[in-house]
């Protein structure tokens, strides 16, 4: 009943619309398929933000509108490169105090997107609480804001790695975007890109080098959460074993001939503080095990309590090497390991490659102190200077 001409046009119109929709769909999928967060282009206006800081307050872009130059540095806790730049950042802030330059550090990573094996160079991760710990430990004297919740600000700015610097002039137009200086190792630095840019802007001159490449740890976007969970699942599926240890085995353990740094923890199923701290220990193991580090847990339970010990270890997916005292003479076995040990558990000891005691604690574990002791003593062939940095305060 509908006229032919009409129906043809109708059909064509519909077909075209479908095609357009399909094209849009494909493009959209393509766009979101890759994690494209383009870095802010030079000359762009600074995107506004409102983020929580380590002081517990919210901070926004407007707060700094009085500054002639605004330097936004995307940095984080866990990345060894960012850590090596911490002293330099602090010095920057100090050197430009009172010169009309404001510094804002923003942490862009989602802590849930960081895999355990990416935490091998740090004591804390990148949550707001962790940021507070790092800021206190290293005496940060600048705003340090957390964007890990939504990463909205970071998506607007598009940092490629930590650290990544964005310098804005008085009109808040982007005038420099890139690295702090040209070498991770301070002794090899030749060009101070960030300082040069700030100085140029303060003098009202054009910025000679407005853009540089960046090196550091890639930004941990939310999409990487799946990868973290996958890795965690793999780790938790690793086999859990327990072997009985004789007095001789314990003596050998103490001597540490593994060639690696060795963390030993004595615990028992009936020991409340041991049970409470065990997850932190396992996490520490998983963080550092890809370096020259290993962990052994030793249960001081009697051999006939092995079933309960295994159950506990399985519950915690303890894929580290696990021992259990091989005889009922608990005191003798404790003395075999360490004659000075006054038989309390938990007893944690960190042994260097030569058997030297790097850290020791009877009772509640101070996980941060332990991890810092590990970082201060692990060989750092990949990030020379890292160990020294952690050995100092």
């Amino acid at each position: 009943m509908v006229p032919d001409a009409y129906s043809r046009r109708f059909v064509t119109a519909r077909a075209l619309r479908c095609l357009a929709l399909a094209a849009l769909l494909v493009t959209t999928v393509a766009c979101f398929g890759q994690e494209e967060h383009p870095t802010l282009a030079l000359g762009s206006q600074a995107p506004s933000f409102s983020l929580p800081g380590i002081d517990g307050k919210m901070h926004s872009l407007d707060e700094y509108k009085a500054a002639k130059v605004l330097v936004i540095v995307f940095t984080c806790d866990h990345c060894p490169t960012a850590q090596l730049y911490e002293p330099r950042l602090k010095k920057l802030v100090e050197d430009y105090k009172g010169k009309g330059v404001d510094f804002v550090m923003i942490q862009p990573n989602d802590p849930d997107a960081i895999r355990l094996d990416e935490l091998g160079y740090t004591d804390v991760s990148d949550s707001l609480e962790d940021m507070k710990i790092r800021a206190t430990y290293r005496h940060f004297d600048f705003p340090y804001l957390y964007d890990g919740a939504t990463q909205e600000t970071s998506r607007a700015y598009g940092p490629k790695a930590t650290p990544h610097v964005f310098i804005f002039d008085a009109e808040r137009k982007l005038r420099f975007e890139g690295r702090i200086d040209d070498s991770q190792r301070e002794s090899l630095v030749k060009r101070q890109d960030t300082r040069n840019a700030i100085d140029a802007l303060l003098a009202g001159m054009p910025v000679a080098v407005a853009h540089t490449g960046v090196f550091g740890c890639s930004t941990k976007w939310k999409s990487k959460t799946a990868s973290r969970l996958e890795y965690l699942a793999k780790v938790e599926a690793e086999p859990v074993t327990v072997e009985e240890a004789s007095g001789d085995a314990l003596k050998k353990l103490r001597a540490n001939s593994t060639g690696k740094m060795l963390l030993i923890n004595f615990w028992a199923t009936w020991c409340g503080p041991c049970v409470v701290e065990f997850p932190d220990l396992e996490t520490t193991y998983r963080m550092f095990r890809n370096r020259d580090f290993d962990m052994v847990t030793v249960s001081t339970n009697m051999p006939d309590e092995k079933a309960g010990v295994i159950k506990f270890l399985q519950k915690h997916h303890a894929s580290s090497r696990n021992l259990i005292f091989g005889s009922t003479d608990t005191y003798a076995l404790q003395a075999a390991f360490d004659p000075k040990w006054e038989s309390g558990v938990p007893y944690t000891v960190l042994l260097g490659v030569d058997g030297k005691v790097l850290y020791q604690q009877v009772g509640d574990l101070d996980v941060l102190a332990l991890r810092r002791a590990i970082l201060a003593n692990l060989p750092d062939p990949d990030y020379l200077g890292h160990r020294t940095y952690w050995a100092s305060r």
């Binding site: 009936w270 020991c271 409340g272 049970v275 309390g344 558990v345 938990p346 009877v362 509640d364």
Partner: protein, 728 residues
């Protein structure tokens, strides 16, 4: 003092020699001390100092008699923050242990654990003791034990923790002396007696026999109901066994009138609901009891009563009382009263009114008496509901007899004064105010089993409240019952609306006998449920004897001797009735009771039990429980009008509803308890439980059922009633 005279140099030499010797001996002494100190095994001490604690073997009365018991204990004094553990240490820890080496003939009992404290540790919860604790135990001495000095040797192992856990051990010894008889009355106390006496009361006591502990499983744990006789507002429960409760979970306390209800969360690793819940409960004022809770219905918490609530329920009670007048068990009395009113309509206003007020007073007084008795019985622990009188077969039989006798009079066999409307006996024969008073009392007696619609909730509510509130509610009920008659007396004008006395009165009187006899037949049926055919025979025999008494009264009216004779015959009838019902007829098994009603096709009703409810719910089926009794007229009507119809039957079948009948005809504790927990005090009551146990509270249907109400309630059941298992 000759030595004073010696030259100084000599004195000097002597002094230095003495000093040297002293030094030498001091050295020897010190060495010896070191040697002794270094051999703890040989130190025969009753106490020892170990890491973070001091442990002592306490023997308060070191003189013990052969054949008798002896007291001892292990005492710990702990450094601040350090703790040792209870017999169930909780999420971590180990209780202390003692191994004894005792002289022959002496045995040691197990150490007793005082009431513990909760010791939180991060996400864990342990149970134990801080500061100091005494673990008492009893020694038993054989008759044949050698008298004289003896040594008790204990090897104590323990775990003491704070931020570190240190296993420790000590060997302790204590001397005792064994005698064959005590010289004085009491054994002489030793130095340890102070510690012993001071800490002995920390042991939990067994739960007194007047208290009760019941528990029921909930979706995520348990509810433990403790009845101590007074309202409790604080408690902590420590389970004896591991892996039953979640130890760190807070325990919410809901005080009740006679105790409290504790909400406990279960351990996620709990495999099966335990048959018993044993442990220690600590109440306020340092009371601690060992208890073993049995499964049972836990009463729902009594809600906070507001004045508005009380007003609302009083209003409902008043309405209910008024409606009671219409029920066939009451209106014959009202009619009889109405008749006497009609006859007395010529009297002055105030006298009528006064009669009305006295009648009201009679009703209110009997309600109060009943409530007082009920509260008294409730306080005594028996769970009785409204209508309890009709659970006694003898009461049923006697009531039937009374009403039969009354019906005979109304039918015309003999005359009793028209003011005779109260229960058989000389009291009822009183004219005037006394007659009015006891008419009121009769009205109450007869109205009791008919828990009228709207009244059920009010009564249930009131019984869960304090005595004052209960009395208020019941007063409203009484006033409602008395209101119609009172109205008539207040508004004498309305008596003009009442028909004038005439021949119709006689007809009316005889007509009233009909519902009265009908009610008697109903009572016979009730007794048949309770006592079977033999009971009915005894009842009918009583009726015959009563008829004889009535004949006597009718043959020789208004004569003294005939009244006496009739009285004797009636007494004989009562004897026959009581003897027949109690001895000749035995109770009919409950399951058979009501079975007849089910015979006619339709749904299959099973006898109720809490286990059956749980079983069907676990199977994923909703459960409908019909709380009924033979003597409850509303129940019978509801069953026939609503529950046994085709429409409702098919709705039940469609919903795969399990049908349970809780027959309260004879006294049943379990049913009484459940009714209490549903805030109903009597029957009828109808509870519809959804299948998955998201909460315990069922939907309660109104006391007047229609098929529509039932089908509507079934349709509102949550969709997830398919065979889903109870959430762990």
């Amino acid at each position: 003092m000759a030595w004073l005279a010696r030259p100084l140099s000599e004195v000097h030499l002597q002094a230095s020699w003495i000093l040297a010797t002293m030094r030498f001996f001091r050295l020897i002494f010190a060495l010896g001390f070191l040697v002794i100190a270094g051999m703890p095994a040989l130190a025969a001490s009753s106490s020892a100092d170990a890491a973070h604690l001091h442990v002592q073997l306490v023997v308060p009365y070191p003189v013990m008699v052969t054949g008798g018991p002896g007291d001892a204990g292990i005492y710990f004094k702990l450094e601040p923050g350090w703790h040792v553990y209870w017999k169930n240490a909780g999420d971590s820890g180990e209780p202390p242990r003692v191994r004894w080496t005792l002289p022959e003939g002496i045995t040691a009992g197990e150490i007793q654990f005082p009431a513990p404290k909760r010791l939180p540790l991060g996400p864990l919860m342990d149970f134990g003791y801080e500061d100091e604790v005494l673990f008492p135990l009893t020694l038993s001495l054989d008759k044949a034990v050698k008298t004289g000095d003896a040594v008790l040797h204990a090897k104590v192992d323990w775990l003491v923790c704070r931020e570190v856990c240190i296993p420790g051990k000590a060997e302790l010894e204590s001397k005792i002396s064994i005698v064959d008889h005590m010289l004085k009355d009491a054994p002489p106390p030793g130095p340890d007696v102070e510690i012993y006496k001071r800490l002995l009361n920390r042991l939990p006591e067994p739960l007194p026999s007047s208290a009760k502990a019941v528990f029921s499983a909930t979706a995520d744990g348990f509810r433990l109901a403790l009845t101590t006789g007074q309202s409790e507002n604080s408690a902590q429960f420590f389970p004896s066994e591991q892996n039953i409760l979640s130890n760190p979970a807070p325990q919410t306390v809901a005080p009740t009138k006679t105790g409290l209800v504790l909400d406990l969360k279960k351990d996620p690793n709990m495999t099966a609901v335990p048959a018993r819940l044993s442990g220690v409960v600590e109440l306020s004022n340092g009371r601690a009891y060992e208890l073993v809770a049995v499964p049972g219905a836990v009463a729902a918490n009594a809600p906070v009563t507001t004045a508005a609530d009380i007003g609302k329920f009083a209003g409902l009670a008043f309405l209910g009382g008024m409606i009671l007048n219409l029920l066939p068990c009451v209106f014959p009395v009202l009619f009889i009263k109405g008749l006497s009113l009609v006859q007395a309509s010529g009297e002055e206003k105030h006298k009528l009114l006064r009669h009305g007020l006295v009648y009201t007073a009679g009703i209110v007084a009997s309600f109060w008496a009943l409530v007082a008795a009920l509260l008294g019985l409730r306080a005594a622990g028996a769970t009785l509901g409204w209508g309890f009188q009709f659970q006694s077969p003898v009461f049923v039989a006697l009531m039937a007899g009374l009403l039969f006798f009354l019906g005979l009079s109304l039918a015309g066999q003999f005359e009793i004064g028209l003011t005779l409307t109260s229960a058989g006996g000389s009291l009822a024969q009183k004219q005037g105010y006394a007659g009015s008073f006891f008419t009121g009392v009769l009205a109450v007696i007869v109205a009791t089993p008919c828990t009228a619609p709207f009244m059920g909730a009010a009564v249930g509510f009131a019984l869960a409240q304090s005595g004052v509130v209960t009395f208020a509610i019941f007063t409203a009920l009484a006033l409602g019952l008395a209101a119609p008659y009172l109205l008539l007396t207040i508004q004498p004008a309305w008596t003009r609306l009442l028909p004038r006395p005439g021949a119709w009165m006689e007809v009316l009187k005889q007509a009233v006998a009909v519902p009265l006899f009908a009610f008697v037949i109903y009572q016979v049926w009730v007794l048949a449920q309770m006592r079977g055919a033999a009971g009915v025979t005894a009842l009918l025999a009583m009726f015959l004897i009563l008829a004889i008494a009535g004949w006597i009264l009718g043959r020789w009216p208004a004569r003294r001797f005939s009244s006496i004779a009739a009285g004797l015959v009636i007494a004989g009838a009562v004897v026959v009735c009581v003897y027949g019902v109690n001895s000749l007829a035995g109770p009919v098994p409950v399951a058979a009771g009501g079975g007849q009603a089910d015979a006619a096709g339709g749904s299959h009703w099973e006898p109720w039990s809490q286990a059956a409810v749980d079983k069907y719910r676990a199977q994923g089926r909703p459960v409908f429980v019909d709380f009924t009794a033979s003597w409850c007229l509303s129940c019978q009507v509801n069953e026939r009008v609503a529950l046994r119809t085709d429409a409702v039957d098919s709705a039940f079948k469609k919903g795969n509803v399990a049908l349970l009948k809780a027959d309260w005809t004879s006294h049943d504790d379990a049913i009484s308890q459940v009714l209490t927990s549903l805030r109903r005090s009597g029957v009828p009551a109808y509870a519809l439980y959804a299948s998955n146990s998201t909460g315990d509270q069922p939907v309660l249907l109104p006391e007047v059922l229609t098929p529509g109400i039932v089908i509507d309630a079934l349709s509102k059941l949550p969709a997830a009633t398919s065979a889903s298992a109870i959430k762990p």
